[in-house]
């Protein structure tokens, strides 16, 4: 597509429920990144995919968080047993392989997650 598409744009969920966030990167972008943006905290790096592989998952804040990417395109970020501290905007970005350090990313509009 023309840009990075994220869905849903807003999600309100009850504490303890599971949620799934989706990211559709720019066509041809093999690198995909997930970040979390909390008020006053800037952007926290969560995970990176090169193709379908995520070589380092250490940025995920807990084992309730997981992410996958299939077909080298769409990625889903799943949060199990959501907690109130998971409330944030979850951002996805994509780039050409290893180009982020030279050229930066293209970001999606994010999913605003509210856990009540």
């Amino acid at each position: 597509g023309a840009g990075v598409s994220q869905s849903p744009s807003n999600k309100v969920t009850e504490k303890g429920k599971d949620v799934e966030l989706r990211c559709d990167p720019i066509s041809g972008h093999t690198a995909l990144y997930w970040y979390r943006q909390s008020l006053g905290q800037g952007l926290e790096f969560l995970i990176y995919f090169q193709g379908n592989s995520a070589p380092d998952k250490s940025g995920l804040p807990s084992d309730r968080f997981s992410a996958e990417r299939t077909g080298g395109s769409v990625s889903t970020l799943t949060i199990q047993r959501t907690q109130q501290e998971d409330s944030a905007v979850y951002l996805c970005a994509s780039s050409l392989a290893f180009a982020a350090t030279n050229y930066g990313y293209t970001f999606g509009s994010g999913t605003r997650l509210t856990v009540v």
Binding site: A31, Y33, Y35, G40, Q41, G42, L43, F45, Y48, P55, D56, L91, A93, S95, F98, A99, A100, T101, N102, Y103, G104, Y105, T106, F107, G108, S109, G110
Partner: protein, 114 residues
């Protein structure tokens, strides 16, 4: 690990005032530097980037930034701000690891009074 500091959390200016937002990163070597902007209700957009060459980089909407290697700084400037510049501004540098991810500062919120 690399880190990024943005000194100002919230800056309030009147239209036509000059702007300078500070950004410092923790260690040098070859480094690429970025400023992103997030207008209210919109997604993060690349404002400008330094890759190599002239340390004074010009971006969109009249913004510029100067890379000063000796000070580990990449401050963002604009001579005369407009109300439409109201946004949050983020400085970013590569993490330096194998993943090619960027490390972002905590952001500076700019409010421009008409």
């Amino acid at each position: 690990a690399q880190s990024v500091s943005q000194h100002n959390h919230h800056v309030i200016l009147s239209e036509a005032a000059s702007l300078e937002l500070g950004c410092n990163y923790s260690y040098g070597g070859t480094v690429n530097l970025f400023w992103y902007v997030q207008y209210p209700g919109q997604h993060l957009q690349l404002l400008l980037k330094y890759f190599s060459g002239d340390p004074l980089v010009k971006g969109i909407k009249g913004f510029e930034a100067e890379f000063i290697k000796s000070k580990f700084s990449f401050n963002l400037r604009k001579p005369s701000v407009q109300w439409s510049d109201t946004a949050e501004y983020f400085c970013a540098v590569p993490d330096g690891g194998s993943q090619g991810n960027l490390i972002f500062g905590k952001g500076t919120k700019l409010s421009v009074k008409p």
